[in-house]
Amino acid sequence: MPTEKPDAFAGKYWIPKYILLFLVIFSLLYYLFVSNFDSLLPYFALLTHSVYGLLSVFYDGFSWEGNFLRHPGFTFEITRGCDGLTSLILLLAAIVPFPVSFKSKIIGLAIGVPILLGFNYLRILTLALTKMHFPGHFQTMHVQILQPAMVLVTFAVFVVWLMIYVRQSR
């Protein structure tokens, strides 16, 4: 088990230091995120292909091209905002500067990142199915339910990491 210094949080300035580091990491990752759209295209294509792969097992008529998922009734574009990367940015920026051991951070990210990407995959899948079966509810599902749900899962992952892993490792 990793050993934490008992006074890791005792320093007077750990809060401003944490917030400053959080903002620096967050800004850096955000800059990379918005300025490298083209380099994210393979990831979007992979996401689209994997959603197509699962849907085509159960439904006929689906096809995919790049980051477009097509069905006779609709076309579905997976683009920035549908990628779950914004959640990853928050999780990374929240965990990396937290004053715990390197191993704790790695474990937090190793568990948190797949959870967020997995939830995002489910979100895209749900949206595709909503578009297919309940097109009238797509916008509500997209904007008002699944986006906030993604945020909630991100916060939940962070808190669970604090409560289960960091806490036990101390």
């Binding site: 008002q144 909630l152 409560m163 960091v166």
Partner: protein, 220 residues
């Protein structure tokens, strides 16, 4: 049979409280949204009208994400960047996070929630101003009439883009951390005071999970 909340692990209590808080806040938000949007958009519209002298009137319809811009003799309708219902939703997330954070007295929780609400109102006013100002630029019938410099325009665009991608994440996190850092720290340190539960005896194992007796651990 009654359930003693002190007997559930802290993580279960947190998650249950989180889901309950978000549901309650969301229902309240759903019904209060028209009033909230009215409060937020009034100063934002005045500010846009003050800074863009070519605009005569702005009519907002937040429920369908549209704003009408009346220039001299020309009326244009433009979509606001995002659904206002969605944009203001980070308020719900912030309040739910504060409500769900363990080990806080009720009065303290209410005080922090009110401060958070006040900050969120300010943030939403600023964001609505940026949103409307940017929509006003794209609605302008003559680009020469736009009073903002190129630098201001790109700043408005960048702020808008940042908020669109990250507003739902970073603002609740920062406010939550600023107001509840002691409690968040408590979660990490394992001193989350399940000790506040009156049911823990002095000689019973400490609910923080240290394995020590309560009297020599959190109850000391």
């Amino acid at each position: 049979m009654s359930v003693n909340p002190g007997k559930h692990p802290p993580i279960v209590r947190f998650l249950a409280r989180f889901v309950l808080s978000i549901s309650v806040c969301f229902v309240l938000y759903h019904f209060l949204f028209p009033l909230y949007a009215l409060i937020i958009l009034a100063p934002a519209k005045s500010l846009v009208l003050m800074t863009n002298e070519n605009l005569l009137q702005i009519t907002t319809r937040p429920e369908i994400s549209f704003a009408g811009f009346l220039f001299e003799g020309v009326e244009k309708v433009r979509a606001i960047r995002y659904d206002a219902y969605f944009v203001y939703m980070n308020l719900v997330i912030t309040l739910a996070l504060i409500s769900a954070t363990p080990d806080m007295a009720l009065l303290n929780r209410i005080k922090k929630s009110l401060w958070a609400l006040l900050i969120m109102v300010g943030v939403h006013c600023a964001e609505s101003f940026v949103d409307l100002a940017y929509a006003g630029i794209s609605a302008s019938p003559d680009p020469d009439l736009i009073p903002y410099s190129d630098a201001t325009r790109s700043l408005l665009f960048e702020v808008n883009r940042f908020y669109a991608h990250m507003g739902l994440f970073i603002i609740p996190f920062l406010i939550w951390f600023l107001f509840c850092h002691k409690e968040i720290l408590g979660l990490a340190k394992g001193v989350a005071k399940a000790s506040r539960s009156k049911t823990v005896g002095r000689n019973e194992p400490c609910p923080c999970g240290s394995g020590k007796k309560y009297k020599v651990c959190c109850g000391a």
